[in-house]
């Protein structure tokens, strides 16, 4: 650092690091904590639903979220147009 540095705006790269890490850590933390069973749960639910309705595997969505301190398991199944077949 010399004379020029006194007048040059230094890039605050530490802020970039901080923002990137905030996102990474939030993602890592939401992905852990006993939620490893989601893929299996999805598959088994699909099998049960299949007994009654012929649904496309991609039409079953499962999500775990948080609301007011509770964990919410959200399951959405898009039923095919002509039901009951």
């Amino acid at each position: 650092m010399g004379l020029l540095a006194l007048f040059r705006r230094t890039p605050r790269s530490a802020n970039l690091a901080k923002e990137r890490l905030r996102i990474i850590v939030a993602q890592q933390r939401s992905a852990r904590g006993g939620h490893d069973y989601l893929p299996l749960l999805r598959r088994e639910l699909l099998e049960v639903i299949h007994k009654y309705v012929n649904v496309d595997p991609s039409s079953v969505q499962i999500q775990l979220g948080r609301e007011d301190g509770h964990e919410v398991l959200e399951l959405s199944v898009a039923l095919p147009e002509g039901r009951g077949n």
Binding site: M1, T10, P11, A14, K18, L21, R22, I24, R29
Partner: protein, 270 residues
Amino acid sequence: MTEIIVVTSGKGGVGKTTTSASIACGLARHGKRVAVIDFDIGLRNLDLIMGCERRVVYDFVNVIQGDCTLKQALIRDKRLETLYVLAASQTRDKEALTSEGVRRVLDELAAENFEYIICDSPAGIEKGAHLAMYFADRAVIVVNPEVSSVRDSDRILGLLASKTQRAERGNHGVKEHLLLTRYSPRRVASGEMMSVTDVKDILGLDVVGVVPESTDVLSASNAGVPIIFNPESDAARAYEDTVARLLGQSVPLRFIDEPKRGLFARIFGH
């Protein structure tokens, strides 16, 4: 009462072994009976940092496999009489370290009235790292203020919260402490490096110490004398403070602010 402390990080090269050695020496200087164990099977280093590499006859795996007794394998430190080192094996067979074997050695150390057992974890999240943390009561997570180190340490936090005996038994989990190493107050002040507060907020951990970047650390490992013994070094003072905090004392953080520099130094200095 024996307390097991794992020194871990996920990422390699952040200062785990340096930290393990200095914390072990620091606790022993407080008169505690301490054993420090190298869990890096195949790549032992702690013996070098402790300066006892020529006195390693038996190692951790030898004890587990029953080739010798624990007493034969423990190397007594030449400087501190309550400090013992258990070296890692140089075997390439990582399977030599078993959960049952580790448990037996830790139980025996507890029966021998060791007050602290420091487990120096290998880098990564493989078996050695897993076993180093599995039986721990507390964890010192060594982090450099740098993106990959912080991300890896968060992975380690995930493992501490799920893959440890305390987590499995549901009794309060492992107590986690953040130790920042290679900290440069000058670079923090210029906005090039994340600050203590930044890293603390991102990880949500208590700070047990901040060790400034120091050329003394390399000299210490060159000489095989843990940095904490260097009376001239700021890094040594930072480790002493860390040890005091681990012992429950309240000590303010030092060496986290840039030394005040005059205009002359700012124009011509570095």
